[in-house]
Symmetry: C2
């Protein structure tokens, strides 16, 4: 994962044992050597074998031969050749034109490792691979919650494992300015609560990324989202201030004054300082969510607009962007921005990042702008991997000409930082982002959701070897919630709930600030509940087996019984651990659903048709269970409704086919409380 | 934990809710403010409450009042006043003479947090606390395996949580030189594989420790253990070289040449550079395990010894130490060394660290040397917490006079680095070191092992909030071993095995190097198997219930049945995950023990007396099961032998009292394969 462009399976295998060696033929540099050594260590750690760190002198006898033609682009750039071929027959031969191509192939090599009673091996295979899109990114917002360097580094390792190649590092926000500026020290001193990256750390991360074939595109959001800038430099703002670091979330009024030459002198000088740290050709200036209030309220700014014939705040922002594009050009950078910047007059070299919908991507491409898709990849909305997987930057239905389509560079998953900290960010990025990475790399027709989830489960565990904490920290959070008591009963609940989707959590926990705790049950659970998916699937299975209702019945009964039986255990935990108080209503709902499920199954398997009062009481209970609590929800409430309706509607089975009956049940049970598709992006 | 010097419980409670505030009265500095804020964040994360970060202006209305008299020693020193009092009645009042005392009290405050249906609270209590010993340390060996800064930082947080106050940082070894030297760059460039601390990082760690009231004592081991020094500077050695970094473990020959003035000029200049980074008054020069071979083989050195009337290599080492003590004095440092340095002629200002046995501690104290005990606290020997807990630096039986006893400064747990890396070191340090910390802090009569284990389990989970990975990483390692498959069957085995004690692992995995994998089952399991302890306890329980044999029977049967039943699951996992091949013999042993246990219980509960052949066959199986495999062992094999013997000896119950009978069973079943006490230290 991602699935390669072309795979041909062979017969036989290449053994991986204690004598395993790697030979580097052709081009070799430190980056390749370090990458191969990292792969060797991972191979060693997975197999428990003590492997030699010396590269083999005799390539013919080596287990793996890495034949790399040259270094590739320096610094890493958008046009990098990331293709590689991997042939495993007598030995494994990995060939690539560039070091980055070889690094991509090494990840494939590690994913191919298999084992059986005869030991570890690489199955015979012939792979020809290259990415579908050249821009495959992950945005990490270190502004709203700071993420220390070790977090960023492990995300880079995980990105490399799934062949992502751009870290879009969101470094300033209303809630925090995260970069040391020697020219303007009040930026980090007053804007960060002491939580910022030193320039040495920034360089360290850029180099760490380069070693893994990943570009780093910094974002300093402007002219809006600048509250943390103007704490130290209120003169940049369009209203006098004073300002303090934002602690809540949302859109704030603070915006740069685009009419003062000093604003541009400041920005020019700041970019001059910081752009030296980031060698990438692209620079993201944000440009989103400027509400224009300060501009409208400032008579000088209004006068400036009139004088220049600027009609509205969007026009003024385009004026600002035009100045910025000049500054960036001077420092050798191409401007990138959120799709608000796509306004008449925007120079064509700007790159558009579409977040408000796929429409702006199409518009930009048609107007000749390079563009990158993020709408549909907002992982902070907490949708399932399947939801994101279904979004394609260039769907088959696209009406773009080939020339226009070439402007679609790829996409980026966005990990906005309102509700994640160092302990939880991994479980919000991973494993879902691996599915998105596959969408960006693999051929368009790689689309089976079931197969994606099967492979995602494997990759998910492999990410742990890179230090990713998405699996291990779940229990840490549960144990903290139970104050150290065995969380086993709580796990029965945690396994079948999902965080509320979209930005509903803010409504449920309205007292929250950037300094508040991210230690609730919602922080511990997966965004893709495997347990919930199983329940829905089993109900589907059972109802499709009308009129016998045997398929999946035993498994459902076992699960429903556990919901009923563990209720007391959760309540007992909550009695000694008040942090669980918010969870007991969910435990009540779950126990009620367990009883309902058992009841309905009993009716179905014995052919007992309950009356309307029975049905209505249970539907009412399920409606209550369908209401989010503690920012959590049960994704299978609709399936439970179907189960109840099915029991009540058994009599109809004699008058129609099972398929007709099932359709009727689904109609009567639904529509669901709300769709399970993409929740509209409203930040 | 550690238990305070004096605790008086009251009645009532102080509520902890969303309105909780903290007031700082009296002395305040950045260190105190940061410490209180860290405590507040931990309180917030445990409770899920959004707490104000503003300190309360009105102390009278605050939940917690911190009254601190002054800053304490700067830089942190041995004589620091760490005492505090904590009174919880209407509000919680924490009083201390120093910031460090207040930090200690804040940890107690956090340990007092409790909860019930009415919410979180601090129970009414009055505590007067101070440490028994002023030197309470943890040695971390970053030489044999490098431990990145983030590892050291989280250990410091955990140390502070259990009131340890000295990080003894072992920074150079045959296997690695871990410090950047600008004067002698070949030390870190050629001696570290690129794995070293920059000087900025060293300063960062020292400051991080200071903020937590922890001193940092660096160790640069010499004249032996210097292989990594002489890779870059072979002229320092007593034989010409060339040298390479050691990859295996043990005692190597490389030793400084103590006869050349250049050696001392080098050391003087090096210490001059590095001592500026470590403000502590103490400097550890190692001094252990010099085998003297190079000295004996070098004619010039022999000539030097003859000329000066130095009789043997121990005398030459004392000569070396005398030069060193002068150099250290010049740089304002007191010398500390391992107990080999305790030889006639050693200046009295040297501090002796006893590792070869408690005898040298007593000898040192009687001769007027300050001394620190590490014998008995070698946590790398993988003994249980109870074993270490039983060792006292000043046992009641000590014959030291009060003046001599005052030379015993305390003790240090030692985490030697042969078999730990960043992923596993936490589970080798924690939670056992918390028991050792209690031994150093609490009154001598705090000695109940059962109560220690009860409290240790609570502290163990609380350490997770500081990032300690001892619990979470166990499953990470298991999932890697199973190649991602559900490790549930394997967990049944993992829960009842312990790593072989002492340094037996080196014999079992002789091909291992510093670069090899630390990802075997032995790396995943606890050194204090709770499951194994339960089995032994339940057997004890059952046999003490002769002739009824009811107590604990059901629990034993359930457990024995799971050993038998999960065998197939483990084998199935191993079939697809060759890294588990070494584990299947253990699964076989466990299944066999399960069957034996069920058999024996059946005999006992039905009064069936099996014959000698039955007994002998089972004892033979248990003898085999008692042999370590994959560097693991079952700690309850003796209990299983007792169970078998008990079944066979039931007939004797009619001729003696149950107590006599039990004694007879134990005699016939034992002695154990070997004692469970402290394994002799042979490194």
């Amino acid at each position: 994962m991602p699935v390669p462009a072309a795979v041909r399976l062979g017969t036989g295998r290449v053994l991986i044992d204690a004598k395993t060696t790697i030979a580097l033929t052709d081009f070799v540099d430190n980056r390749l050597r370090a990458g191969v050594t990292r792969a060797l260590v991972r191979l060693q750690d997975r197999t428990g074998l003590v492997l030699s760190r010396e590269f083999a002198a005799n390539a013919d006898a080596a287990t793996l031969v890495v034949a790399c033609k040259g270094p590739g682009l320096s610094p890493p750039g958008l046009g990098e050749d990331e293709s590689y071929t991997l042939d495993a027959s007598r030995q494994v031969v990995l060939s690539a034109n560039t070091v980055v191509g070889a690094l991509r192939g090494l990840e494939t090599f590690l994913q191919l490792l298999a084992g059986d009673r005869d030991g570890f091996f690489i199955p015979a295979v012939s792979i020809q691979d290259r990415p579908r899109f050249p821009w495959r990114g992950l945005l990490i917002d270190a502004g709203r919650h700071f993420e220390p360097v070790e977090v960023i580094k492990r995300e880079l390792d995980a990105m490399a494992a799934v062949k992502l190649n751009v870290l879009h590092w969101h470094l300033s926000e209303d809630q925090g300015f995260r970069v040391e500026s020697r020219k303007y020290p009040k930026l980090h001193e007053l804007g960060s609560d002491g939580q910022y990256y030193t320039q040495d750390q920034l360089r360290e991360v850029v180099e760490y990324a380069r070693m893994r074939g990943i570009r780093v595109v910094p974002e300093f959001d402007m002219p809006g989202h600048v509250m943390s800038w103007v704490v130290g430099y209120p003169e940049l703002a369009s209203a006098p201030g004073p300002y303090t670091i934002a602690r809540k979330f949302g859109v704030f009024d603070a915006v740069f004054d685009p009419t003062r030459p000093d604003t541009y002198r400041f920005i020019d000088s700041f970019i001059g300082e910081i752009s030296k740290i980031f060698p990438d050709a692209y620079w993201h200036l944000g440009g989103d969510e400027n509400n224009g209030k300060q501009w409208k309220a400032n008579p000088k700014i209004q006068e400036f607009m009139q004088k220049r014939g600027i009609k509205d705040t969007a026009g003024l922002q385009t004026y600002f962007n035009q100045q910025l594009i000049g500054i960036l050009r001077k420092h050798g950078k191409r401007m990138m921005g959120w799709d608000e910047i796509l306004e008449p007059g925007l120079p064509k070299e700007a790159v558009i990042q579409s977040w408000r919908g796929q429409r702006s991507l199409v518009d930009a491409a048609k107007q000749g702008y390079d563009s990158v898709l993020s709408a549909g990849y907002y992982i902070d909305l907490l949708n399932t991997a399947a939801t994101h997987y279904a979004v394609d930057p260039l769907p088959a239905s696209s009406d773009l000409t080939p020339a226009e389509a070439a402007h679609v560079l790829g996409g980026e998953a966005t990990m906005w930082g309102e509700w994640v900290g160092p302990e939880t960010i991994d479980s919000r990025i991973w494993p879902r982002t691996a599915a998105i990475a596959e969408r960006f790399w693999s051929p368009r027709d790689t689309a089976s959701v079931d197969d994606m989830y099967r492979r995602l489960a494997v990759v998910s565990v492999q990410l742990e070897e890179l230090g990713i904490t998405h699996l291990r920290n779940a229990d840490v959070l549960l144990r903290r919630l139970t104050a150290g008591a065995d969380p086993a009963p709580l796990r029965v609940l945690a396994d079948v709930v999902e965080p509320v989707k979209g930005y509903q959590r803010g409504g449920q926990q309205s007292g929250m600030t950037t300094l508040g705790p991210l230690t609730h049950l919602v922080d511990a659970v997966s965004t893709d509940s495997l347990g919930a998916r199983e329940v829905s699937g089993l109900v589907e299975h059972l109802l499709s087996d009308a009129p016998h209702f045997m398929l999946g019945r035993d498994q459902l009964q076992t699960r429903f019984a556990s919901w009923r039986d563990e209720h007391a255990g959760i309540v007992r935990l909550a009695d000694a651990a008040p942090a669980l108080a918010e969870v007991t209503p969910l435990a009540d709902d779950l126990a009620a659903m367990g009883a309902i499920g058992l009841d309905a199954i009993a009716c179905l398997s014995r052919g007992i048709v309950p009356d309307a009062a029975w049905r209505d009481a249970r539907i009412a209970t399920l409606t209550e269970a369908g209401r989010p609590k503690a920012a959590l929800e049960f994704p299978f409430v609709l399936a439970m409704r179907e189960l109840v309706v099915a029991a009540a509607e058994q009599g109809q089975l004699s008058t129609m086919t099972p398929a007709e009956w099932l359709a009727r049940v689904k109609t009567l049970a639904g529509p669901p409380r709300r769709g399970r598709g993409v929740v509209p992006v409203v930040r």
